[in-house]
């Protein structure tokens, strides 16, 4: 039924809204009239108008992209770092209805927690049969090593999420519980920040409850878990790493809550205590907020094939030296098979009726339920009872007769492995799409945090919408979107924000972030090396592309042979050049040779699969940055989020047809972006060990690249390949300086003097080595310097000193270049040796442990 926003002239942005028939619509009654709690918001939206809403939302999406809010989709080659899909229209919930939800989920959290406490403790529920023992013993999420583990205050769940929807009659139902490491709270927070900024006026007027106090309670709860009585307990957020679907959220929450983001390899257990491996040695860890699933947390006592956890963690928990939130083993009650038992368990454990019903569920482990499922398969969705099964939910109604029989047969073989659930018709909410409002299915994820002996509920949540109104399932993995949730208040709202706390005096601290995991430093070091490599490659390619189109670069000319030789300096292993293929050379006409060379250069820019391409190296820089994203400022994040897109054409496959001018523009943009990254590094990062290692990575890389260019250009240069000198100046960005000093007299010695020995030229080798020594001085004198590889550093500096002491003019004489090459070779060997020594000293213990 269509309607207009209200009887006065206000028109809904985009015009008419068409609620879906036979579905509860969150915004409008079936009659088409707005529900009362939407009227204020809709009228505000109408005041904005379609055009303004469209404009604001475009800006908002841009900001989501720049903030690097992403969600990874498994098994999708383009799925890594997919931009977060947020809808412009929040889901509104009125205060009285929220109170019902709040009470319902608090009761549910209490109940689930008590079930866990019993199953991992005295097991009275199992002995008495109130909870079928087979529901636990047949469940691969029941982790026996976690039985009788120490759990402070018997609180197993510190954060949990409950997925809710409503049926046609407006009743809220629980679809699923997420109890081990629920995701989404961080996304909900980011959604809120974006929406509150985009509709700042509307947000202020709507009296929306704020989220910050929820996170404050959560943080306080985690800090209070610390078993030791140290003044500043160390809390880490354990993440599976950047490949995880919600890694963005892990780094975002770690930053927001002020915890160190750690991967399994950053932690180590010694003598039943957990430590963080930092640049300055091992630091004790008191509390682990984990986003790693139960089974993956400890390869010794849990899943032996896991590389994500920490060997010995269970033993450390058993010894009472570390607290893990949620408690290990908490995933047990995520099984849908437990839902039919919750009403009875609630009566027994709490003496209360279950306030918020679960969607009707039948666990086939019970004969009566199995019968029901068999009879009513058409109206049910069949799910695996336990997580270990790789089975996807099956909709009974979509099966052929043969498939039906097959499924029933499978269920009868192992009934307890299957659970049937009623197909709920999810409610709908309006989304802003293609400049109008249209309904989509919606599921609301509500979050609770333990607080002392009770729970706080995040007043809001992550609403997720289906890609179309006809899709009966809502899943971010399957391309759904998300919404902010506004819980309205009839009282003035609490304005507390976690990001600025004005009341508390903060003790002054000059210490540069001392909890820098070694692994993070490793990636900073490689971010430095890769971004330097990218810039070098971009400059080399730009230089060659620019010359390729010159008239003088005809095949066989001095210019042409210099180009080929210059390309040879890239030491590319995957050259696509026909001329690099001994069989192919003679068959190509000169024009084809030039064409072939052009294609090779484009391939070196764009071909992602090529290990030696610019695209490949930008990806590596981007992956290194992703590993340390919790340590980068938002400005820096904005720049690094552009890296992996820099060497892409609009039409991914058509790079081979790109005009040279366009390719040069791509390279120019790339060089510009890399320069702004360097600028931020220089001007906006505190000079801590992380920055020094990042800069050290750059200096080492640039030195290596320069030394190799000198060896392959200056040492073998002949009058025929003289144009290479000019290219060398170009790549080292020193052509201007050279010209101002020597006009156009191009000679090997002055070029080498400018690029190798001139300490004032920031592109020279001497400058790199000087700066490298300065970083070494800082680091070896810092707390991290105890095992500094002085010997390798000195060998490098000696090799450099010998090189700089020699007379350049003499070294460049045609007969004496062997000596030049010897001196360069010594440095060429000393640089990687020093880099390896740094890796061995600081980063190697971050390598993976393995099972025997």
């Amino acid at each position: 039924m269509a309607f207009r926003a209200d009887t006065r002239d206000a028109v809904l942005p985009g015009g008419v809204y068409q609620p879906a028939p036979g579905v509860w619509d969150e915004m409008s009654f079936a009659s088409g009239v707005l529900r009362p709690h939407w009227q204020g918001f809709v009228s505000g939206l109408s005041d904005l108008g379609t055009e303004e809403l469209g404009r604001r939302w475009k800006t908002a999406r841009q900001r989501i992209h720049e903030n690097g809010v992403t969600y990874n989709v498994y098994g999708d080659p383009l799925g890594m770092d997919r931009p977060w899909n947020l809808d412009a229209i929040p889901l509104l919930i009125p205060p009285d209805e929220w109170a019902t939800i709040e009470a319902g989920v608090i009761q549910r959290a209490t109940l689930l927690n008590q079930i866990l406490a019993d199953v991992y403790g005295p097991q009275q529920l199992l002995r008495s049969g109130v909870l079928p023992a087979s529901l636990v013993f047949g469940n691969s999420s029941f982790w026996r090593p976690c039985h009788n583990l120490k759990v402070a205050g018997d609180t197993y769940l510190h954060m949990l999420a409950v997925d809710l929807t409503r049926s046609v009659d407006g009743q809220w139902w629980v679809l699923a519980d997420r109890t081990q490491a629920p995701s989404g709270a961080g996304y909900a927070l980011e959604n809120r920040i974006v929406l509150a900024e985009t509709f700042s006026d509307l947000f202020r007027e709507s009296n929306v409850q704020r989220l910050a106090s929820f996170f404050r309670a959560f943080r306080d709860q985690l800090i209070a878990l610390a078993p030791s009585r140290r003044a500043n307990p160390r809390v880490v957020l354990l993440t599976p790493g950047p490949l995880n679907e919600t890694y963005f959220e892990h780094s975002y929450l770690a930053r927001y809550l002020g915890f160190t983001l750690a991967q399994g390899a950053d932690l180590t257990v010694r003598d039943a205590r957990v430590f963080l491996k930092t640049l300055e040695g091992l630091k004790p860890v008191d509390v682990i907020l984990r986003r790693v699933d139960d089974g993956f947390c400890d390869p010794i006592e849990l899943r032996s094939d896991s590389f994500l956890g920490v060997a010995g963690l269970v033993e450390a928990v058993r010894a009472g030296n570390v607290a893990v939130a949620n408690a290990l083993g908490s995933g047990l009650v995520e099984t849908p098979a437990i839902m039919p038992f919750l009403p009875g368990l609630s009566e027994r454990l709490l003496g209360e009726r279950l306030k918020l019903p679960s969607v009707a569920t039948w666990w086939c482990g019970q004969p009566a339920a199995l019968n029901y499922v068999r009879e009513n398969l058409n109206y049910l969705v069949i799910k695996p009872s336990f997580r270990s099964s790789r089975m996807e939910p099956v909709f009974g109604g979509e099966l052929s007769a043969a498939q039906r029989d097959l499924l029933i047969n499978r269920i009868e073989q192992r009934p307890y492995d299957y659970t049937g659930q009623e197909l709920v018709s999810l409610s709908a909410a309006p989304v802003w799409s293609e400049n109008s409002l249209s309904p989509r299915r919606v599921v609301l994820r509500v979050f609770l945090a333990a607080s002392g002996n009770s729970w706080v509920v995040m007043p809001g949540g992550l609403a997720r919408v289906s890609p179309s109104i006809d899709t009966p399932v809502v899943s971010m993995q399957r391309g759904g979107g998300s919404k902010d949730t506004w819980v309205l208040s009839d009282r003035p709202v609490d304005n507390f924000s976690l990001q600025v706390s004005r009341d508390l005096p903060v003790p002054l601290n000059r210490g540069v972030n001392s909890d820098l995991p070694s692994r993070a430093v490793d990636f900073l070091f490689w971010l430095g090396r890769y971004s330097e490599r990218c810039e070098h490659l971009a400059r080399m390619l730009r230089c060659m592309l620019g010359r390729l189109t010159r008239d003088s670069a005809t095949v066989g000319s001095s210019e042409w042979d210099s180009l080929l030789a210059f390309h040879g300096c890239l030491e590319t292993l995957n050259s696509r050049l026909v001329s690099d293929d001994p069989q192919g050379r003679l068959e190509l006409a000169p024009l084809d040779l030039a064409e072939d060379f052009g294609q090779e250069l484009l391939s070196l820019i764009f071909e992602e699969q090529r290990h030696d391409s610019l695209h490949g190296n930008l990806n590596r820089a981007s992956i290194s940055a992703a590993q340390v994203r919790d340590r980068l400022s938002s400005d820096m994040l904005r720049v690094v989020s552009q890296l992996n897109g820099l060497a892409r054409t609009d039409n991914e496959s058509a790079w081979g047809y790109l005009p040279t001018g366009d390719a040069i523009s791509v390279l120019n943009r790339c060089i510009g972006t890399l320069a702004s990254l360097r600028g931020i590094e220089l001007e906006n990062i505190t000079r801590g060990p992380g920055w020094h290692f990042l800069s050290l990575g750059r200096r080492i890389e640039r030195s290596v690249l320069l030394v190799r260019l000198f060896r392959s250009i200056i040492v073998p240069i002949t009058p025929h390949t003289w144009p290479m000198l000019e290219m060398l100046l170009d790549v080292a960005d020193s052509a201007m300086t050279y010209r101002s000093r020597y006009f156009t007299h191009l000679q090997a010695a002055p070029v080498l003097d400018l690029l190798m020995n001139d300490e004032l030229n920031p592109r020279s080798l001497a400058f790199q080595i000087n700066d490298l020594s300065a970083h070494c001085r800082f680091l070896s004198n810092s707390q991290a310097g105890a095992e500094w590889p002085f010997a390798k550093q000195h060998r490098l500096e000696e090799a450099a000193a010998k090189l700089f002491d020699a007379d350049v003019a003499t070294l460049c004489q045609p007969g004496r270049r062997v000596q030049l090459d010897d001196l360069l070779a010594a440095l060429d060997a000393a640089l990687p040796a020093f880099s390896d020594a740094l890796t061995n000293t600081y980063f190697s213990h971050a390598e993976l442990e393995r099972a025997t």
Binding site: D271, E301, A311, T852
Partner: protein, 280 residues
């Protein structure tokens, strides 16, 4: 029968191991006298009882080492259980339909011993309708002994029980997993038992040091008697020659030495077991 058992495990690593974490299940049931000697010496040993009731010792080594030796020495008294009257046990269907709480967890699949239709079919030859559960289990033990050939080259630690079933050969671990999988395929609780077997030297020859080995068998639950052991490798009901160290759902729950290492590359493993009767 009183025994002294010495169980030595030696790892030689190709490259030094910088850090390692280990857990051991080397303390036999029914003894307080297990001495565990580890080289290099770990800073501390911790011990706890696992979910199945076995004693677990854990430690870590923090100094680089190229060899690790674990020697567990126990004195253990084995009292032979009263010989079960197989024919007096309840019908297997009754046991299947009334599994007691303490045995319940052993009905379900575990990683190495899961129910399969072909196992059920094989087992049903012994488990004829209403046959007493222990009598049927004894018959199954005999059939596995007769139908399968002992062949130490046929399998390794990770050989799946389906392969054992197809190839009709294996070692004690495989036969135990198979018998357990057969029982579970019928809905009966069965568990894996690890331990040692006393071996007798050939007549007139002295006992050779280190000649004994770890052994494995299985155990079936019956309401009247509780757990009753069956040894499909030797076609017998264990008496006082079998020394029990640990039990669980399968080998994965009881592996004697397990570790996670940093470094080490490849390694070679040597195990030597001596079971010495102390009564004459």
């Amino acid at each position: 029968m009183l025994y002294r058992v010495r169980h030595e495990t030696r790892y030689d690593y190709e490259e030094p191991v910088s850090i390692s974490h280990h857990i051991l299940r080397l303390t036999p049931h029914g003894t307080d006298h297990t001495h565990i000697d580890i080289s290099p010496r770990p800073p501390a040993l911790a011990s706890h009882t696992d979910y199945f009731g076995n004693t677990v010792t854990s430690f870590n080594l923090l100094e680089p080492h190229s060899r690790m030796v674990v020697v567990a020495t126990s004195e253990v008294e084995v009292t032979p259980p009263a010989e079960p009257i197989l024919a007096a046990s309840p019908a297997w269907e009754t046991v299947r339909d009334n599994v007691a709480f303490e045995a319940c967890q052993y009905v379900f699949d575990s990683l190495r011993a899961g129910a399969r239709p072909q196992f059920a079919e094989y087992a049903l030859t012994s488990f004829t309708p209403r046959r007493p559960v222990l009598e049927a289990a004894r018959d199954l033990t005999r059939r596995i002994f007769e139908d399968f050939r002992f062949d130490s080259k046929a399998s390794e630690v990770s050989t799946p029980v389906e392969t054992t079933f197809e190839k009709r050969r294996g070692v004690c671990q495989d036969f135990s997993h198979l018998q357990i999988a057969c029982l579970r395929s019928l809905g009966l609780p069965a568990r894996y038992v690890s331990g040692y077997l006393r071996t007798l030297p050939p007549p007139g020859k002295p006992r050779l040091a280190g000649a004994d080995a770890s052994h494995a068998w299985c155990s079936v639950w019956s309401p009247d008697t509780g757990w009753v052991d069956f040894d499909p490798t030797n076609n017998c009901i264990p008496s006082d020659s079998h020394i029990t160290v640990a039990w669980g759902r399968d080998y994965g729950d009881v592996s004697p030495v397990y570790g996670v290492l940093l470094g080490g590359a490849d390694h070679t493993l040597d195990v030597g077991v001596d079971v010495i009767p102390l009564d004459s």
